[in-house]
């Protein structure tokens, strides 16, 4: 073979990586991400094959069924690029090999991507952003958007490059320890943050009054004995001491919520979450549970059990 070897430049590979952002654009019930996969590879196909028949062949092989996690398609694309490059340079690689590599990788990689990205990274970063945003802090959305995209683009580019360099050997690395360790670590971190989020952001407030005790005189602020001038305000604030000093009222009321919180703060929220988990395991649709909780909220409020 006298002709010089065709290689994909960094620019070509970057172009493929950018296009893979639109991988799911034509997601369909028949072959899922196939259109997007072919679309992503077009800069490479254009460069590697000049004859019309070769291009048609290449497009057809990549319009086969494909579905994985959108970000973890990148290492697979990298491997595909390496194989297509070899093929264009004359190495004997049949369509079955190429499909085999793609199908062999997409299952295990989807299994890593879903828990790591959708069930750990996004809840953590979005939860962080949302907790800032709820109090009206514009940094919340900015933080989420920038962090997420920086992480995503870096991940897609470097894993695609990794796939391109290692070629088919990548499967050994995938099944190896590192990726598994990352997945497990992500799950631990995710559970930790979820525990936090449930305590802080699931709000249930049981309003029924459990007890109403008359306090001894001296334990509460005696409003009738205050002097009738502005210094009274200072006196009251000093006596109250941000809730650490005297009580504001003559009667000490304890609600059901106070009782639950003295066991452990957020107990009701935790129980509700466990109940939802149980319902989901019983194959109750999340949408039904969500609508049901709104009904419970409204009914609970009307009968005076729940408060805002």
């Amino acid at each position: 073979m006298a002709e010089k070897k065709i290689t994909l430049t960094k620019r070509d590979r970057w172009s493929v990586c950018w296009r893979s952002t639109f991988l799911q654009g034509s997601w369909n019930y028949e072959r899922m991400q196939n259109g997007g996969y072919a679309f992503s590879l077009i800069p490479a196909i254009k460069k590697l094959y000049t004859k019309k028949e070769d291009r048609a062949e290449a497009l057809k092989r990549h319009l086969e069924f494909f579905n994985t996690h959108p970000y973890l398609a990148s290492p697979i694309i990298g491997v595909t690029l390496a194989l297509e490059e070899d093929k264009a340079n004359g190495t004997e690689i049949d369509n079955a090999t190429l499909s085999g590599v793609k199908v062999g990788m997409m299952g295990p990689l989807a299994g890593v991507g879903d828990p790591v990205f959708w069930y750990t990274a996004r809840p953590i970063i979005a939860g962080l952003g949302a907790s800032l945003a709820i109090s009206g802090n514009i940094l919340g959305p900015i933080l989420f958007f920038v962090l997420w995209n920086a992480m995503r683009i870096a991940f897609m580019w470097y894993t695609q490059e990794f796939g391109y360099r290692t070629g088919t050997k990548i499967t050994d690395d995938v099944s190896g320890g590192l990726l598994q360790k990352v997945t497990r670590g992500a799950a631990m971190m995710g559970m930790f943050v979820l525990g936090t989020l449930i305590e802080r952001w699931v709000t249930i407030n049981f309003t029924p009054v459990v007890s109403k005790v008359k306090q001894s005189s001296g334990a509460y602020i005696n409003w009738s004995k205050l002097p009738n001038n502005p210094t009274a305000i200072r006196t009251v604030l000093q006596e109250w001491d941000m809730g650490n000093g005297l009580s504001l009222t003559k009667y000490k009321t304890t609600t059901l919520q106070d009782n639950l919180d003295s066991l452990i703060p957020g107990l009701a929220a935790l129980l509700l979450t466990l109940f939802c988990m149980w319902l989901l395991k019983k194959k109750v649709s999340p949408i039904v549970i969500i609508l049901g909780l709104f009904v419970v909220g409204i009914l609970g409020h009307v009968i005076g059990l729940l408060g805002a």
Binding site: Q24, L194, C276
Partner: protein
């Protein structure tokens, strides 16, 4: 709302619709979509707050496997538009959040329709591929993405056409027991998303991490960043000790017990 604002809102809706399927830039997440709509309509901070509270509900929504998750794109865009049209008063936030839920279900059906239309599109791609026509593949991929964008942009236009006074009248006609109740429900609904996530990632090994996180959250001085740092530290310590315990199997009989914590305790 001015004409320019309306056009910008429709553009945001279009982006959210695209992202609802692409899942890359995350424009469809309430945190981003509501903020952008707030930005272009001049109600930035109230919309940031709405986005935050919707995001808390949508945290666990993801399109995976058999579990059909509600559509965040239509939920965030539509409820932000309704919220802005009603004057972006914080008392309406609970109602706007509650309205988002049925919209999320409606969005789900819309995306199913577009995904079915896309079947036809890839058949056209098949034909063009036979001819080796690269440009046609590009074009049809872009058309498919635009259809997903229109999925949210068209309902957004419909909502913008309804006069703001009508939206306001509708929201204020709702009795307070209903709106208060929906706000209370919104506080509980957050748990469903978390439950979905936990069901996916939980196993015996990771439950202790959940317990530590839950208990530490009650210490209100700790910000979420501080808690995240703690979680990361605990995770790294665990993984490090585990690999140490496995490697240290040579110097004593306790290495392979598969119980890293026990091994470390034995070493003391």
């Amino acid at each position: 709302m001015s004409a320019i604002s309306m056009i910008l809102v429709v553009i945001v809706a279009f982006l959210a619709g695209m992202e609802g399927i692409l899942d890359e830039f995350e424009f469809h997440q309430p945190l981003v979509a509501c903020t952008l709509i707030g930005l272009v309509t001049g109600h930035l901070i109230p919309c940031v707050m709405l986005g935050g509270s919707l995001q808390m509900i949508a945290l666990g929504w993801a399109n995976i496997g058999a579990a059909v998750a509600p559509d965040a794109a239509l939920a965030s865009v539509a409820s932000a538009i309704i919220f802005v049209q009603s004057g972006a008063a914080s008392k309406d936030m609970g109602t706007a959040t509650a309205i988002a839920i049925p919209l999320a279900v409606a969005g789900l059906f819309l995306t199913m329709i577009v995904r079915t239309i896309s079947v036809a599109i890839i058949h056209i791609m098949d034909k063009e591929a036979e001819k080796g026509n690269l440009r046609a593949i590009d074009m049809w991929q872009i058309i498919a993405i635009c259809l997903q964008g229109l999925r949210i942009a068209l309902p957004a236009i419909a909502l913008l056409i309804i006069p703001a006074s009508k939206v306001q009248a509708f929201l204020s006609s709702m009795p307070s027991w209903l709106t208060d109740g929906m706000t209370i429900g919104g506080g509980m609904v957050v748990a469903v998303g978390y439950a979905m996530v936990i069901n996916m990632i939980a196993n015996r090994e990771v439950w202790p991490f959940f317990a530590i996180g839950f208990v530490l959250a009650a210490v209100s001085d700790l910000t979420l960043i501080a808690i995240g740092t703690l979680g990361l530290a605990f995770t790294l310590i665990y993984l490090e000790l585990e690999s140490k315990a496995n490697n240290g199997g040579g110097n004593g009989g306790n290495g392979g017990s598969g119980d890293p914590l026990g091994d470390i305790l034995n070493d003391y």
